[in-house]
Amino acid sequence: MSKLLARIRFVAGPLALLMMVAVMAPSDAQQRNPDGTPNPTASAVDEQELLRQLPRIEGRIDIPNPREAVLIQPAGRTWDYFHEVILHWLGAIVILGMVAVLAIAYLLMGRIRMSAGRSGVEVPRFNGFERFSHWLNAVSFVVLGLTGLNITFGKIVLLPIIGPDRFSDLSQAAKYVHNFVSFSFVAGLVLIVALWIKDNIPRQVDITWLKEGGGFIKSKHPTAGRFNAGEKLVFWFALGAGAVVIVSGYLLMFPFYLTNIAGMQVAQVLHAVTAVFFIAVILAHIYIGTLGMEGAFEAMGKGTVDLNWAKEHHGLWLEEETTRRAGNDTRGEPWATPAE
């Protein structure tokens, strides 16, 4: 083995030296034109050559602002293409596509009802703090989503309607709102993750739930713990996508602190693409939590769900809760019937 390495070194060493000489020798020869006159640009830096080697041309600058030492970055035109062509189409297809899918789902399946009807017995599902955290995150998300969409689609959708002056005022306000509401979004996301991460660890039952098509196939009723696989997917997606938009967003909010121009372009691309998919997923989340399923909204609305809803969708969680309550309360009946 060592013999082989020694042989490689024996061959590669002189070869590298030869190549260095080969590269250097012509440049020396090029100092003069073929007819013998000196050629002052023989060793001059060449723009096209530099751009073939590097994504952007940088140098030294006299004014005390090293950020401006980038001379040319053709990637700006690439970013322009992304923002004006790719992002517009991607955003329109993904978001409008999701709206269409949800509309079709509603038309085909209608509202998913509780098959046993309401029992009239209410089971506590989310306490006040959990609901506060969720709504803090949710309201922030909707505000950020709308103000963000305005930056990309406002000039197509809104500008022709309200005119340039009012649209500019609105967008200016929207930009500040977008920047500041980001903080409540971060707070909401951190709270949600802290509160619910333990109930969102994937379990064996989630695979069965997914295989049986969630709650969408009426003949089957896959059971689930506190959160079913669908909710867990939304949770982990929100955590992942949230982290991407938060990090990329703050990089853009503090230009040049950690990134250069290329970093800012990448951050914007990640921010925009992630946000588009985030909006589509949350649209589906909103649909199933309101219009799509009977008895789902009250979990996050008033904090309780109907016993039959819990049995149907979160059987394992209901069992756990029942045992836990029964352990604490010896009166036998774990769920108080509502005062009527």
Partner: protein, 200 residues
């Protein structure tokens, strides 16, 4: 109508920064903003070149395309202007600009960059102000084009490295120079800004 362009003959630029100073003075550019700057490539090495760069007033200007409030536009002469009344200071034109031309008075200040400022080819501003008025001068700087003059940076250039004016004419001047002296390192930025270099 003439298509206005800048051309920096890098074989003549001596990095004196007179164009930077002339621009700042002529347009009363605020502190911290440089509409024009000189960048030296391969500084101190054989074949180093200095290039004076500002907004190149691109063909299909990417800044204008990405602006979320469409406050940037090209004039009939190809000069890229913007309206500070409409600008929201989002920074998108800076991401899109191949030449780092857009400047903001409050860079990095918590995302509130302030109204974008950039080279106007000494052609005033793109707002509702009357061309040549004091209001226009205070917001955007000089409107020399209105007076039949070219941008001061190029007019001031001691080595006549920086050329401004009708793209056809300055390209012709550059071509003649190159053929006379026998060398030229090309019209820097032209392929990116105008999709074509100056064939010599």
């Amino acid at each position: 109508m003439a298509r206005m362009k800048f051309l920096c003959d890098a074989d003549r630029c001596i990095d004196c920064n007179a164009c930077v100073t002339a621009c700042k003075n002529e347009n009363e550019v605020p502190w911290g903003i440089n509409r024009r700057r000189v960048v030296t490539i391969n500084d101190g090495k054989p074949g180093e070149r200095s290039v004076s760069i500002a907004c190149m007033h691109c063909t299909d200007a990417p800044c204008a395309a990405v602006c979320p409030v469409t406050c940037i536009f090209s004039t009939d002469e190809g000069v890229v202007l913007h309206s500070k009344d409409l600008c929201i200071g989002c920074g998108y034109c800076f991401y899109a600009c191949p030449f780092g031309a857009p400047q903001y008075p409050r860079v990095g200040n918590f995302g509130s960059r302030g109204k974008m400022d950039k080279c106007t080819f000494c052609a005033g501003g793109g707002g509702p102000e009357t061309p040549g008025s004091i209001a226009e001068y205070e917001k955007y700087g000089a409107n020399r084009l209105l007076e039949g003059k070219l941008p001061l940076c190029a007019e001031m250039c001691s080595t006549k490295s920086l050329l401004a004016g009708d793209g056809e004419i300055i390209a012709q001047i550059y071509r003649e120079r190159v053929s006379k002296r026998g060398y030229g390192s090309g019209a820097w930025g032209w392929t990116t800004a105008y999709y074509e270099g100056v064939a010599v």
